[in-house]
């Protein structure tokens, strides 16, 4: 079980994490092969299990820079089925657009994964159960979560690599805002903003920690993300079984300092690793794929050039 099954272990007691960086030129590449070769290195316990893929679907996106590309989602689904998963469901609860069908049809998800009624769950409208949050970083204490999330054996966070005008960056941890049901809290899920975005990210991920993360950085977004920024080609997929380490690696690829992104810095104490020396890189090196992202002035201090 993904919910409340991961021990909250201080960073210094955790073994080193592994994060893979794969260079991918475009969405026309054989994404399933890239993912298959990489996922096999992680020996994931998914045989006979229910896997939930949680992409980042936000709204219609003519430039392809807002939403996780459906080709990546389809490739991941194929790979987890090949790894023996009993079922692989795609679930998302968009934050501001209520017409989820309009989003998934516009990005042509059906063309990639087949009939949506068999595979896709709108997490905003799913059955829910109340869950006490495992940490008290925010004032939330408890949240309703969708049944599909609570019953999943293995959760894969699949964000787009983007800057975020309030959180600095939105990656696999911030992506979990999408499991909070709009059907209980509205569109947007404004209680999370009032509770403090960074703190709410921690509380949600301490309670429903993704088991794995696959970040779509083939085309990401820089500047005024997560919606109004500019497309940024990084041409990478970044994946691993420690979502904090994956996000820290993404930040470095984006030319950002993870320890200066508030929610990542705090997540590094209890949920995973952000220090480079505690993350074992597989595949490409960070230096070889680093693609500095523009950030808003508010987050200028997160850029690596300010490190010295």
């Amino acid at each position: 079980m993904s919910v409340a099954s991961h021990p909250l272990v201080p960073s210094f007691e955790r073994p080193a994490s592994r994060v893979a960086i794969r260079r991918v030129q475009s969405y026309d590449a054989d994404l399933a092969d890239v993912l298959w070769q990489t996922l096999r290195e992680f020996d994931l316990p998914v045989r006979g299990k229910t896997v939930l893929l949680k992409p980042n679907f936000v709204e219609s996106d003519s430039l392809g820079a807002i939403n996780t590309h459906p080709a990546v989602v389809a490739a991941a689904r194929e790979c987890f089925l090949r790894l023996g998963a009993r079922s692989v469901v795609v679930g998302e609860g968009p934050g501001t657009e209520r017409d989820t069908e309009a989003i998934v049809e516009t990005i042509r998800l059906r063309d990639h994964i087949g009939k949506l009624s068999d595979v896709f769950v709108d997490l905003n409208l799913d059955d829910v159960s109340r869950v006490a949050l495992r940490t008290r970083a925010s004032s939330l204490k408890e949240l309703y979560f969708p049944r599909t999330v609570l019953e999943a054996d293995f959760i894969v966070s699949m964000p787009k690599m983007k800057t975020h005008h309030w959180a600095g960056a939105t990656l696999s941890l911030k992506n979990m805002f999408g499991i909070v049901p709009g059907g209980c809290y509205g569109w947007p899920k404004n209680i999370l903003h009032w509770a403090g975005i960074d703190k709410a990210i921690l509380d949600i991920n301490s309670t429903v920690r993704p088991d794995f993360a696959i970040v779509d950085g083939i085309v990401g977004m820089e500047g005024n993300g997560p919606i109004q920024g500019k497309p940024k080609k990084s041409q990478v997929l970044i994946l691993g079984d420690d979502p904090v380490a994956v996000d820290a690696t993404c930040a470095r690829v984006m030319g950002l300092l993870p320890e200066r992104i508030s929610h990542l810095e705090k997540a590094g104490y209890l949920l995973g690793h952000i220090k480079a020396e505690q993350i074992h890189q597989i595949g490409e090196s960070i230096a070889s794929v680093e693609t500095p992202f523009e950030v808003l002035d508010t987050f200028r201090r997160t850029r690596r050039k300010h490190e010295a």
């Binding site: 017409d99 049809e105 009624s117 409208l125």
Partner: protein
């Protein structure tokens, strides 16, 4: 009369017949099959009963004259009455202890049926007593002192939030306005007119620069927000008495254009209802809904089937501009 004008009534009747047939053969059977044994509806067929989808399903069934639809609506109304909280509001989910935007939809359904004026009065009163969080003194002071505002909006103009303790947003504000506009004087709570005036002003403050509305952020860090069909349709339905305003007409222009490209059944239904309410041209709804149904079965979404029914069948007068004047 020339041949074209001779054909117009025939075509209109044919279109109405197709729309009626789609509602009768697809939407209403789906709604009736999806009703839970407790009388309510979930957002998805077979899921936990919730206030909002139950409200829309009841409103849709009340438009059908069949006995089975009438019975379904009656059971839905009973469930809605039972879900009302002691303070008069309705929660988004029965486990929640505070009211929500669904207070407006529940009141709309109960008011439409007509025999629950006490429940509606309490609901509307609670709605008018509830203020969004940006009304606090601290919030106003912080905004007044701030020199670096991220979003371009007037925090002194307040509408309604989705749930307590949050900001004003377009859709819950519009839903509350649609409700209050439909209530007769006898059911109007104290302070309703003031709330309505301020809520309308808040909606106009949140229009995206090119027309239309998104969830409620028309400008972030100096970049214009992109409108969405749902919030735009609700905001326009809530502000019909201002039809002559240039920004309303600009928003209708945007909606007309977006409606033509729309791929979601919910947006199609809402866009169609709104364009019809303003007398704007809207292409036939039934073919688009048929495509959505064939492809995705509306993603099994009860609210979508209900809104489609309301859009397809004539007489959604609670959305068509019947106006309750706001007293100056």
């Amino acid at each position: 009369m020339n041949g074209l004008s001779d054909a117009a009534p025939v075509l209109a009747a044919r279109r109405a017949g197709l729309a009626y047939a789609f509602a009768e053969k697809v939407c209403l059977p789906f709604l009736l099959d999806s009703q839970n044994t407790d009388g309510g509806w979930g957002y998805g067929a077979g899921t936990q009963s919730r206030v909002e989808p139950t409200s829309w399903a009841v409103l849709a069934l009340l438009k059908s004259s069949t006995s089975v639809a009438t019975e379904g609506a009656r059971r839905g109304l009973d469930w809605l009455r039972g879900a009302q909280l002691p303070d008069g509001s309705w929660p988004a989910h029965v486990g929640l202890r505070e009211g929500s935007w669904a207070t407006a939809t529940a009141c709309l359904a109960l008011h439409r049926e007509g025999s629950s004026s006490e429940a509606v009065t309490r609901g509307a009163a609670r709605l008018c007593e509830s203020w969004p969080q940006e009304g606090t003194l601290w919030w106003r002071l912080r905004h007044f002192l701030s020199t670096n505002s991220v979003v371009r909006q007037n925090p002194f103009l307040r509408g309604w939030g989705w749930v307590p303790g949050t900001c004003s947003w377009v859709e819950p504000t519009a839903l509350a306005l649609v409700l209050l506009r439909n209530l007769p004087d006898a059911l109007h709570p104290a302070g309703a007119n003031r709330r309505m005036r301020m809520a309308e002003a808040m909606l106009f403050d949140r229009i995206c620069p090119g027309g239309g509305w998104n969830s409620g952020n028309p400008m972030v860090y100096g970049v214009a927000g992109v409108p969405q069909i749902g919030p735009t349709a609700w905001a326009l339905l809530a502000t019909q008495r201002h039809a002559d305003r240039a920004d309303i007409q600009r928003s209708l222009d945007w909606l007309e254009s977006a409606y033509r490209e729309c791929r979601g059944a919910a947006s199609l239904a809402l866009g169609h209802m709104c364009l019809c309410a303003y007398g704007r041209p809207a292409r036939d709804l039934e073919p688009g809904l048929d495509r959505c149904w064939s492809a995705n079965r509306f993603l099994q979404n009860v609210s979508v089937a209900a809104l489609a029914t309301l859009a397809l069948l004539p007489g959604a007068d609670f959305l068509s501009g019947r106006e309750r004047p706001v007293r100056p």
